[in-house]
């Protein structure tokens, strides 16, 4: 029987949305899915993990060495509990990509990054060349270490029937790395990667103040606000808002690209959105080739108009 270990990503309080999508990928591989929650003062996250539907057992490692999920300590901890597992999965976030290859090297395994489809126990699909090519790959390693692209799988549900908890007391402290600080963007809006609606601005926004035009519309739709790499590089938005190959990968129900030309790197981050709207004053902008609905117009005229008229259309 296949046993799958999922490594949870969390902030010691809540399990990150991307981990729920990874559990769904794990359940596509087999029924015996366990999850590791390693953190510090993370009782709430452990409890939340026990209520994820399909999880059999939660490993709980609660120690200051794991507070920031530093890869050096996490890799040593994960390696210790891998016995008997056929697959080890983590979401393909900056945290998952930081940790899984380090574990893989300790286990002498070639990991598979950014999996978007599980074809069988050993065969997976993943994007290469900035999403311009999809590769179907077969792993010959005895254990498969995988990072999962969250947008390709649904979120797992929750259950009232909690999984059992196994406490891990052993502490791994590599000691050569030290967390100094986080400077995290604080937002009341939903997380970009899990929002149903995403409105992104490009260099055409002109300045950071103008992003308010997008925020007002996003708030009416319960959406998140993103930015193109050009906008981030120009200092109009922080890096945490970047949508694209080197930023966040999003696939919302509705994606609205405002003042974005549509570079390949940007398309790689949003082309799997269900409905794409492009608003750009340049009728030849490549973004229109990927958009379900294109509006050739000055964003500074139409965004306030959308904001004003939207209430008539939403329930």
């Amino acid at each position: 029987m296949m046993s799958i270990l999922v490594i949870a990503e969390h902030d010691n309080q809540n399990i990150k949305e991307a981990t729920l999508h990874t559990v769904t990928a794990a359940l596509a591989l087999g029924d015996n899915v366990d999850i590791l929650v390693a953190g510090f003062g993370c009782a709430a996250a452990i409890t939340e993990a026990t209520s994820i539907k399909g999880v059999v057992k939660v490993y709980a490692a609660d120690h200051s060495a794991y507070e920031h999920q530093l890869p050096e300590n996490m890799a040593l901890l994960i390696k210790e509990i891998t016995f008997g597992y056929s697959h080890i999965l983590m979401s393909a976030t900056t945290t998952g990509k930081n940790i899984i290859p380090r574990v893989a090297a300790l286990m002498d395994v070639q990991p598979i990054s950014d999996v978007i489809s599980i074809e069988s126990q050993d065969t997976f699909k993943r994007p290469i060349y900035a999403g311009n090519i999809t590769a179907t790959v077969k792993s010959h390693d005895a254990v498969r270490l995988i990072t999962v692209r969250a947008t390709a799988f649904d979120a797992a549900a929750f259950t009232d029937n909690p999984a059992l908890v196994e406490v891990i007391d052993k502490v791994h402290d590599f000691k050569k790395s030290e967390f100094i600080r986080d400077d995290l963007a604080v937002s009341e809006r939903p997380d970009l990667t899990s929002a149903k609606v995403v409105i992104s601005g490009g260099r055409g926004m002109g300045n950071s103040e103008n992003f308010k035009l997008l925020e007002r519309v996003a708030d009416k739709l319960g959406g998140a606000v993103g930015a193109s790499r050009a906008a981030v590089d120009a200092g109009l938005a922080p890096n945490s808002m970047q949508v694209g190959q080197t930023g966040k990968i999003v696939a919302p129900e509705l994606y609205i690209a405002v003042g974005i030309s549509g570079a390949i790197q940007h398309l790689a981050g949003m082309k799997d959105s269900k409905i794409i709207v492009a608003i750009n004053k340049d009728a030849d902008a490549p973004i229109f080739k990927t958009a379900d609905y294109g509006l050739v117009a000055d964003l500074f005229e139409v965004m306030p108009e959308i904001n004003e008229k939207l209430l008539k259309y939403i329930d």
Binding site: T94, P111, Y129, D182, L184, R229, Y293, V302, I306
Partner: protein, 251 residues
């Protein structure tokens, strides 16, 4: 302080690649090749540390076909001191784990204080090699670096993480992988390109290093993903909102 920088020869980022007609692999024949852009940022960062008199020597290593010598020459022209080319025979390229094992052998031979690498290559998009080398060399790691300061025996690194920025401090020797905003690489000047022709490049093979580079993963096929179909242009805001509400049913 000695810095080791690893670089990869990849298809130039402006080139759009296609699968071969039998879908067995990406067709790389007659395409323009360059240093992987993230690796170029790693080379630039090493040179800036040398210009600040923090680094004393920069060694550039590449693992690839004999032609990867061109990319090493480019790095030498930018300002690196010497090169190492680990030649891989045959068409297929070796996987990140095997690359990490080769780099571990070079790490043992060179004993650098800092290893700078790109966070990923723009062909395989794996984002693995730096983390794997760090594990094999038992070094601390900082991926997605957007700022790097050397402070005595430590590297203080700001990382671009999903929620914003994270700063960590690592004991040297350490491995740092670069993100886009760490710096903007320079162009090599003509005199420096000429000078680079005289800088030494040592060549060796994976066999010389005693590393098993056999594949753990087989590529079964490669395809062009389905495109998001081009839709319609709408005349005004009213038509757009009407279509989103009544046709697409997303608002």
């Amino acid at each position: 302080m000695k810095i080791l920088v690893s670089i990869k020869r990849v298809v130039d980022y402006n080139v759009k690649v296609r699968p071969k007609t039998n879908a067995s692999a990406v067709d790389l024949s007659n395409l323009k090749m360059s240093i992987n852009p993230f690796c170029e940022i790693a080379v630039e960062e090493a040179i800036r540390l040398k210009e600040k008199n923090i680094a004393t020597e920069i060694v550039v290593v590449s693992i690839g076909p004999p032609e990867a010598q061109e990319q090493i020459r480019t790095a030498l022209a930018m300002g690196a001191d010497r090169g190492i080319l680990i030649k891989v025979e045959g068409e297929s390229e070796i996987e990140p784990l095997a690359v990490a094992k080769c780099l571990k052998a070079i790490y043992d031979a060179e004993s650098p204080d800092l290893i700078l690498m790109g966070k990923q290559s723009i062909d395989g998009d794996n984002n693995q090699t730096g983390q794997m080398l760090a594990a094999l060399a038992e070094c601390p790691q900082a991926t997605f670096a957007s700022e790097l300061c050397i402070d005595g025996g430590h590297a203080v690194v700001t990382r671009e993480v999903d929620g914003g920025l994270q700063t960590v401090r690592l004991v040297l020797p350490a491995i740092v992988t670069t993100d886009l905003r760490l710096n903007t690489p320079r162009y090599a000047s003509l005199p420096n390109i000429m000078k680079a022709k005289k800088k030494p490049i040592k060549e060796m093979s994976t066999d010389d290093l005693g590393v098993d580079v056999s594949a753990r993963v087989t590529i079964l096929r490669v395809d062009v993903p389905a495109k998001h179909a081009e839709g319609v242009k709408v005349a005004d805001v009213d038509e757009l909102l009407d279509k989103l509400k009544n046709e697409a049913k997303v608002i």
